[in-house]
């Protein structure tokens, strides 16, 4: 028997996951089928950013055929408690609005019916009366005295304000030759996994147990929150995960509130209930990354050496501080100095609430916001001090011999050699790019080069979130720390090996890598190891910190599997030594056999030794309890709770990225061509190069979207504007360039396999690297994401137009934020003004000429109510309209003021209508209007609204013309609409 050891880890073996996924045999949540009798839910959502709910009428909806239950916030409040948040404030964190709505898309009611189609029908029949309130969307403005307050019990929108001081920042600033600063308003974006949320819930009223299947990113930290919200002990909340998940990128942690909603719906309906989120729901209300306003100052020497940083961060968590927020703001706390040796740091962290969807986990989680500010600052230091930007980076990097390196804010960087990484990345490449830049600029073109250095944290410390509390508050709450990971390896009676982990993969390929890691321990072919990764909190091993968030799979979960397999192998070695009459230290595992090293006669098939414990436990040698199943838990001792001085080792591992990009900007179109993109990574030991490359390419593509295309946009009144993939643009194959990926390896001394995380780095480094390249190309100082063509063309046009305001609200007209519809036009009608006037005040005439009208009710001579069906693009719905006539100047002019409300949204506006005799017995009707809409129509039909408004007005006047002069078809109204 050959005693060679094949190391499967480190090889890009084909994934065991792929064949099923490629042939349509995946088992995603909506592929699984349900129990007979399962009902389907649809969720009614708020069209208002901020409004009191006056009443909810469910009678008509509940009476529809196939409808089993209508669940409202009051039902929810009867059976649950608000979800706990990371912040101790008096804001009630309900997963469905109870008395007030605070963002567009907030759940307001659930319809439960025999199928999804009937449930959606029922939503249209639920009648809700709202009293709209002023809304606030801008995080800075939300702190103003006069800003509307979202949660009156909390007293203000500013819900956390902490200052930190590390080292001696004030003297460092006082002594510095220069103070250089950047101000950044980082936009909202999201991971947008291709599969949306899904939940199937069931409630057992006798045992009081909720059994909930959901495509969580990981149900672990949220299990506690959900059990408390559902008012059951943890052992009566069973959360299960389907075998496959269609991507998460952090986002699927946000399915948690829906587990509560659908759980309660199932309890009320008395039957299992299934809900699959649609894309509009997802973009509008699932999970957004935080938008953040940052001012970052550096104390800098004339040579560009930074002695101190001063951070001021205002974090916008949306309408509710939903757990684990405000974690986005604190995840980077230990590494706020990035890759640089900076000993003095001042920091102010504020958390505000605004009328936007709640935020949560999104790939990069706090990193994009921090590194955009930090690496823009590095570039600005170079520009303002007339230094080479790469030299400024080099001058400040942590020295290679300094690891493990304790940062000013408390992180312990495990390993690294930043200088080697940077020099290897630029060698032979940068010179060529500089030549291209020189040639392009000589030809009058806009070509730029950008850099970014980033430390990529992974394996989060549970305790970092508590840095938001003061030391005093932390003492009261009890210490939190660590990063428990777990894996189970088991052997069956024929000696085959199975692995189970609590990592809930979403497509990364964990099953393949775990098979490689465990196969290496037992000397088996990796294909012989079977890995199961779907999860059931009712019977599988897990802990609160389990999961694969914070890029912790390779470092923590694979490490735990390695430990469990090693423990089992060591016990098998004792059995083998006993059986083969050899020393335990001499036992080897390879090629499917167990053998005594150096003695080819003493060899035995692996399965024989492995199965012995099942068949003849009496033969187990002393000291071996069993070899059937081994569950390892692992948490690194380095992850301690925050210190009294607020120092926090927020993550166990710290990878390094150095990116270099060159771009060319077309100043007239605002189009950016990425000429070259190089990304250098040090993620410690690499277990599967193909998957590491996949993580880097995928992260890069998402970062490309964040840089150029993606923003979850809101209007000033809180209307959500990007509810489709035609509005929230993701990069496609035609926009995503190939990139060059480089590696060095400095293994982590703190993880079982020497690995570090690699899943999020490019989401942190790429947006700012590209922004630096664009800044270099255009000579621009202030760069705001996303770098849309309009924004870039404005930047290219000149400095006076190149200053986007620091916050969205200040510059709404520059983008799609301004949804006011304005228009004017005229129409000729073949009847005298007096006749037209009479028609416009007549209920029956109005009913017959208003497009889609089902009936008009006259409340007074000048006040009408109507039921209308209107279609805007893909959205057709029924609305209640109210119209008032004012400023009457009979029969020449009147002002019409109207409002619309329906399940699909709201609208309001006014217009002045003038009637002028045309000299030929007819009338020239002139009109000018201004209107605004909100709700679903704004989110998904935004670009169609102008056209739709014109078409509806056109239909109105055409009908009026027909009615006024039915015998004269030649006098049909001619309509001229044009944009104001």
């Amino acid at each position: 028997m050959k005693a060679e050891t094949i190391s499967w880890t480190g090889q890009s073996v084909e994934r065991v996951e792929d064949a099923a996924l490629l042939t349509g045999r995946g088992r995603f949540i909506d592929d699984l089928g349900t129990r007979p009798g399962t009902l389907h839910a649809a969720i009614l959502r708020s069209p208002h950013a901020h409004a009191d709910i006056l009443s909810i009428g469910t009678g008509a909806a509940a009476a529809l055929p196939g409808v089993v239950a209508i669940v409202t916030g009051r039902d929810l409040a009867r059976l649950t408690t608000p979800m706990v948040a990371g912040l101790k404030i008096a804001a009630e964190n309900w997963p469905m609005a109870v008395e007030r709505v605070r963002y567009v898309g907030e759940p307001v009611a659930i319809a439960v019916a025999e199928n999804r189609y009937l449930a959606e029908d029922a939503l249209d029949a639920i009648e809700i009366a709202y009293k709209p309130l002023p809304a606030i969307v801008d995080p800075v403005a939300s702190m103003a005295e006069e800003a509307p307050v979202l949660h009156e019990k909390a007293g203000a929108n500013l819900v956390s304000d902490r200052r930190f001081r590390y080292g001696e920042p004030e003297p460092a600033f006082a002594a510095a030759a220069h103070t250089i600063s950047v101000s950044i308003a980082y936009p909202r974006n999201t991971g947008a996994p291709m599969e949306t949320f899904g939940v199937v819930a069931e409630y057992d009223p006798h045992e009081g147990v909720y059994d909930i299947l959901a495509n969580f990113q990981g149900p672990f930290s949220i299990h506690t929150v959900l059990a408390r919200a559902l008012k059951v002990p943890g052992n009566r909340l069973r959360l299960r995960m389907p075998p496959d998940s269609g991507g998460s990128f952090g986002v699927k942690q946000g399915v948690a509130p829906y587990a509560v909603l659908i759980g309660v719906a199932a309890r009320i309906a008395g039957r299992p209930v299934k809900w699959i989120e649609d894309r509009l729901e997802h973009l509008g209300a699932a999970v957004a990354a935080t938008n953040r306003v940052t001012t970052l100052k550096a104390a800098v020497s004339a040579q560009g050496r930074i002695s101190a940083l001063d951070w001021d961060q205002i974090e916008d968590c949306g309408a509710y501080p939903r757990a684990p927020e405000p974690a986005t703001l604190y995840r980077m706390h230990g590494n706020m100095t990035g890759a640089y040796d900076i000993r003095h740091v001042a920091m102010r962290n504020r958390v505000v609430l605004t009328n936007k969807a709640p935020t949560g986990l999104v790939r990069g989680f706090g990193g994009p916001q921090v590194y955009f500010a930090l690496e823009r600052l590095m570039q600005r230091i170079a520009v303002e001090l007339r230094l080479d930007p790469l030299d400024v980076i080099r001058r400040n990097l942590i020295p290679a011999g300094a690891f493990p390196y304790r940062t000013a804010t408390g992180a312990l960087y495990d390993s690294g050699d930043y200088q080697t990484a940077v020099e290897q990345a630029v060698a032979g490449r940068l010179a060529e790019l500089e030549q291209r830049r020189n040639a392009a600029r000589a030809a009058g073109r806009h070509y730029g080069i950008g850099f970014a250095a980033a430390v990529e944290p992974s394996v989060s410390n549970m305790g970092y979130i508590t840095t938001v509390l003061t030391a005093e508050e932390r003492r009261k709450a009890g210490p939190k720390n660590g990063a428990q990971a777990t894996a189970t390896v088991s052997i069956d009676p024929v000696g085959s090996v199975s692995v189970h982990v609590a990592s809930t993969p979403q497509g990364q390929g964990h099953r393949t890598v775990l098979a490689q890691v465990v196969a290496d321990i037992f000397g088996l072919p990796h294909r012989d190891i079977r890995v199961v990764a779907d999860l059931d909190t009712g019977k599988d091993a897990w802990s609160i910190a389990s999961g694969n968030y914070s890029s912790r799979f390779a470092a923590a979960v694979a490490g735990a599997a390695h430990l469990a397999a090693t423990r089992l192998r060591d016990k098998l070695a004792l059995i083998a030594a006993d059986q083969l009459e050899a020393e335990p230290g001499q036992i080897g595992f390879a090629g499917g056999a167990v053998f005594a090293k150096g003695n080819p006669d003493k060899t035995i098939p692996f399965g024989r030794i492995a199965a012995l414990c099942h068949w003849s436990p009496a033969l187990l040698p002393d000291g071996v309890d069993q070899t059937i199943r081994e569950t390892a838990f692992w948490t690194p001792p380095q992850l301690t709770a925050p210190s009294e001085g607020d120092e926090i080792n927020s993550s166990l591992c710290h990878g390094f990225i150095f990116d270099m990009a060159s771009v060319e900007v077309d100043p007239s179109s605002g189009k950016v061509r990425i000429d070259r993109y190089v990304t250098m990574h040090d993620c410690g030991r690499v277990l599967h190069p193909g998957m590491v490359e996949g993580q880097i390419r995928g992260g890069f593509a998402q970062a490309l979207g964040a840089t150029f295309y993606e923003e979850l946009a809101y209007a000033e009144d809180g209307a959500f504007l990007t509810g489709t993939f035609a509005d929230y643009l993701l990069p496609t194959a035609t926009e995503t360039p190939d990139i060059e990926i480089l590696h060095i390896e400095t293994p982590s001394p703190f993880t079982p396999l020497g690995t570090k995380g690699v899943g999020e780095g490019n989401c942190m480094s790429t947006p700012v690297c590209l922004a630096n390249a664009v800044a270099d190309a255009l000579g621009a100082s202030e760069i705001s994401l996303p770098l849309t063509p309009a924004r870039l063309a404005a930047l290219a046009a000149g400095p006076e137009q190149a200053r986007p305001a620091a916050s969205r609200a200040a510059a709404p007209a520059a983008r799609q934020g301004d949804r006011s519809l304005r228009g004017e036009g005229e129409a000729r009608v073949g009847a005298a003004p007096e006749a037209i006037w009479a028609m416009l005040l007549d209920v029956d005439t109005l009913a017959s000429i208003i497009p889609g009208c089902h009936g008009v009710q006259k409340l007074s001579e000048t006040h009408f109510k109507a039921d209308v069906t209107l279609g805007v693009g893909p959205v057709k719905g029924r609305y209640k309209a109210e119209i008032r006539l004012e400023d009457l100047d009979e029969p020449q002019a009147a002002t019409l003021t109207g409002s619309l409300s329906g399940a699909l949204g709201t609208g309001g506006g006014s217009g002045r209508v003038t009637l002028t005799p045309d000299g030929a017995g007819g009338t020239m009707i002139g009109y000018a209007y201004e209107a605004a809409v909100g709700g679903k129509v704004a989110a998904i039909g935004g670009r169609l609204l102008d056209g739709a408004a014109k078409a509806i007005i056109g239909q109105f006047f055409a009908a009026l013309a027909r009615k006024a002069s039915p015998g004269k078809p030649g006098l049909l109204a001619r309509l001229f609409g044009r944009r104001a």
């Binding site: 349509g24 269609g246 194959a733």
Partner: protein, 176 residues
């Protein structure tokens, strides 16, 4: 054109991956729901329900179509191919599918079915595609995991293998 009552279900018969099938459908039932929940062909996925993401792409009479923008009743009498119909046998992969596996051209696999369908149709029409042409075809789909480059690499390799196969004298279908 037959008029269908909105209040009733209608029998819709068509060919799915070479076999005759029938499903009872209200006129408003989407083809995606009919395929997935009516017939159990869950390989076709639904990512946006407004025709942008491409996850639901199927072949209808050989041409790629967004099943989420198609009504079930529109499938009457048609030949429909879904991802379940691409492999030559249950335990094998098509040339394109195998190339996807070799190149790590999928991660979560949710969007993959639609991309395979579009490429299958395109490579039949254009056996010698340029990289740009492949990027345009895959550009009709959203993938959030891979960054697309491995998908393009897999498609190029599959195209080359399919060309070799069609040039070789053996008329057997090439599969892995």
């Amino acid at each position: 054109m037959p008029r269908l009552s909105a209040a009733h279900r209608h029998r819709v018969g068509f060919t799915l991956n070479g076999k005759p099938v029938a499903v009872e459908a209200e006129p408003r039932l989407l083809a995606t729901d009919a395929l997935r929940h009516g017939l159990g062909a869950t390989g076709t996925h639904v990512g946006c329900e407004h025709g942008v993401c491409g996850a639901c792409t199927v072949l209808i009479d050989g041409a790629p179509a967004r099943a989420c923008l198609t009504l079930a009743v529109q499938l009457e009498g048609r030949e429909v191919t879904t991802v379940e119909g691409l492999a030559p046998a249950q335990d094998r992969l098509s040339v394109l599918q195998a190339a996807f596996r070799r190149h790590h051209a999928l991660q979560c696999g949710f969007c993959t079915a639609g991309i395979l369908i579009s490429l299958e149709a395109f490579l039949r029409e254009q056996p010698e595609p340029s990289e740009q042409a492949l990027r345009e075809v895959v550009g009709g789909h959203l993938c959030r995991c891979t960054g697309y480059t491995p998908i393009i690499a897999a498609a190029r390799e599959a195209a080359a293998l399919l060309r070799q196969a069609s040039q070789s004298t053996a008329a057997e279908p090439l599969d892995v």
